[in-house]
């Protein structure tokens, strides 16, 4: 184990997988000479050269399509979106080409591609650069969607994503790149896609969260502990396929659920998890499932308005109190 930042963990994953498999290459805007807009690819051009660390012009649909074609021909591209906001320019390639190729070719052409980069709310970047993008992707059969919360997850999940034979949407976060944590240095360390993790054991309520929201939920759990409310924290890590088994298991133990997500709530991840819990564990619930979501508004620039848009620790604490009181405890 070594202590390193989330950014360094990603860098380590890329480096290890590129050393392991000569078919892995990185392509995107500013990934080479500039060493990444957020420095995730720092030092990779020096080690692997311009053939495998490929700088592109600003042409998201074009270079994503290049990645898909290269993947059809047997390579394993890692496409960097400078931020996931720009992935909308490549949405047709991702949804209509990458996700469906294996199916519409009757199993002849799979697309082993990773599309990665930061997404989610950032600091005062306003409406076009600060938004949760996972909703656009996890609806689509054929895609896998990963949101790694810790440096360890960032490394283990990225390595699994690169080795996966399917298109994987891997959304990081600007606000987490400097977060430090323990990361195994073993190049064979992997975290399987589709497996949730219980980050904190508890008995009174299950809080489901990921990325920045998980860190806020951890703070909320500490505060609630002092009030005598024991919070279990579940991090799905992969949003598609979703590990509902781990979620349901936790619900059967606590009987109360709060789902937290940074994005706008309408038709969001909270809706999906609430539906699954209701379908599979209705009789176990002692209170309605509560959603804590971003406000149903675009992201504003002004600092005070921005605070009103994104869930805080206090929102989570309040929601937990509500579901617990609903049972009269």
């Amino acid at each position: 184990m070594a202590v390193m930042t989330y950014r360094e963990a990603l860098n380590m994953a890329l480096r290890e997988e590129m050393r392991r498999d000569p078919g892995v290459f990185v392509i995107g805007e500013e990934v080479g000479l500039y060493e990444g807009a957020y420095k995730v690819t720092q030092g990779l051009l020096k080690e692997f050269g311009p053939q495998r660390i490929v700088d592109t012009p600003i042409a998201e649909s074009g270079f994503t399509g290049v990645g898909i074609g290269a993947a059809m021909a047997g390579l394993r591209p890692v496409v960097e979106m400078m931020t996931f906001n720009f992935a909308l320019l490549a949405l047709d390639q991702i949804v209509n080409s990458a996700a469906k190729m294996y199916y519409m070719s009757g199993g002849q052409f799979n697309v082993p591609i990773v599309i990665r980069g930061p997404g989610g709310p950032a600091a005062q970047l306003a409406a076009q650069h600060s938004q949760s993008m996972e909703t656009y992707f996890y609806h689509v059969p054929g895609l896998k969607v990963v949101r790694p919360t810790t440096p360890m997850d960032a490394k283990g999940l990225l390595k699994s994503a690169i080795r996966d034979d399917n298109p994987v949407i891997f959304i990081e976060s600007e606000t987490l790149y400097n977060v430090k944590g323990e990361v195994p240095e073993d190049p064979d360390f992997l975290i399987p896609l589709g497996k949730a993790i219980v980050r904190r054991e508890g008995t009174d309520v299950t809080v489901i969260a990921y990325m920045g929201m998980m860190y806020r939920a951890m703070e909320a759990a500490e505060e609630l502990e002092k009030e005598g409310i024991s919070v279990e924290l579940v991090d799905p890590r992969t949003l598609r396929p979703m590990d509902t088994e781990t979620i349901i298991k936790s619900v059967r133990k606590t009987h109360r659920v709060v789902v937290v997500e940074a994005g706008a709530g309408f038709a969001g991840m909270g809706s999906e998890i609430a539906a699954s819990v209701t379908e599979q564990a209705f009789d176990d619930l002692d209170a309605p499932v509560e959603r804590v979501t971003g406000a149903n508004a675009p992201m504003p620039y002004a600092r005070n308005l921005e605070k009103l848009k994104t869930p805080s620790k206090d929102w989570i604490v309040a929601a937990v109190r509500r579901v617990c009181n609903a049972n009269g405890s």
Partner: protein, 337 residues
């Protein structure tokens, strides 16, 4: 770098192919023509559903281009791709079964007319979002170069893809990175019902090659030998120098955009269609072969019968193939490790 319209008749080297090669070109064009006629029948009978875009009139393009490719070269196309897929060597039985939505189709009946794929012939689809497969073709060329291979990829697309941003992104990236892709624009003059004049500020599509520094030319797409000659030169150059090419072929579809536009009469005149039928690529080539004494009329009748029989077999095969089983709905979504 660029040339104006080339025609094989202008070639001083004479006919350019021997009797065997001429027979192959003719039989491949006849196979596609017959296949499409039978597909239209299948559609009328309700055996084929959805969208069905026929290649009738454009056969010389796929056949001429494929005739200069190696089996390990790649081809990729849009949704009017039956001809490209058949020319690349796919079994007509499995192509027809795909159109019929049956389990023995190339894509197990999951793709249909617009999504033909054949790994055994390096035919990479079958893409029905206009312009989207151009960057994918560039990616295949990227992989060829990455591995140090000497294959090429031919990327067929219509004039309708040229106003799309992805045409320009793909041309730029292929030229910038010097990748072995041949962009082959089948200009049949109409993107659905919109003529080139109503869609493009620059209607001479080959000239976009000059913008990106790509060798480009325009060729008569109703002349199979002219297509063969132009694509052959581009393939040789691309294979050796690892640079892309743009070829605009002047062609014409005799049917409407799809079976839902059978007459194609709103946006073009009957007179225009009749006039274009005078340059039917199959009729022209047949006459040329006979005049050159390469094949007799009897030889040609035998080829026609042979191709008709093969397509009849394909129809019988498709009709007999079972529907895909229900559980296939959920297979081939994710590839398991």
């Amino acid at each position: 770098m660029a040339k104006t319209l080339t025609r094989s008749a202008a070639s001083p080297s004479g006919f350019g192919v021997d009797a065997e090669a001429a027979k192959r070109l003719l039989s491949d064009m006849l196979l596609i023509r017959r296949f499409e006629e039978k597909a239209a029948e299948g559609y009328a009978l309700g055996k084929i559903g959805g969208f069905l875009h026929l290649y009738i009139g454009e056969e010389a393009v796929a056949v001429g281009a494929t005739s200069v490719l190696r089996p390990d070269d790649y081809a990729i196309s849009a949704y009017r791709e039956h001809g490209h897929c058949l020319a690349k060597g796919s079994d007509p039985k499995r192509v027809m079964a795909e159109l019929y939505g049956r389990r023995d189709g190339l894509s197990k009946g999951k793709g249909g007319s617009m999504h033909l794929f054949d790994r055994s012939t390096n035919f990479l689809g079958g893409h029905a979002i206009v312009g989207a497969h151009l960057p994918i073709a560039v990616g295949v060329a990227f992989a060829i170069k990455y591995r140090g291979g000497d294959q090429v990829i031919v990327c067929y697309f219509g004039d309708g893809a040229v106003p799309e941003g992805e045409f320009h992104e793909a041309m730029n990236l292929a030229a910038l990175w010097k990748l072995p892709v041949i962009f082959l624009c089948e200009n049949n003059r109409y993107a659905m019902g919109t003529s080139v004049e109503r869609a493009l500020a620059q209607t001479e599509i080959w000239k976009f090659g000059q913008t990106y520094g790509i060798p480009a030319e325009k060729v008569d797409g109703m002349d199979v030998l002219a297509v063969r000659d132009a694509v052959g030169r581009a393939v040789a150059r691309t294979r050796e120098q690892k640079i892309p090419a743009l070829i605009e072929v002047d062609t014409y579809r005799y049917r409407g955009h799809s079976m839902r536009d059978p007459a194609g009469a709103v946006y073009r005149t009957k007179e225009e269609v009749e006039r274009e039928k005078l340059r039917d690529p199959i009729v022209l080539f047949r006459d040329k072969i006979i005049t050159a004494g390469l094949l007799s009329e009897g030889d040609i009748r035998a080829v026609e019968k042979d191709m008709n029989d093969r397509i009849d077999e394909a129809v019988t095969f498709a009709d007999a193939s079972p529907e895909p089983p229900g559980e296939w709905l959920f297979t081939d979504i994710y590839k398991e490790a």
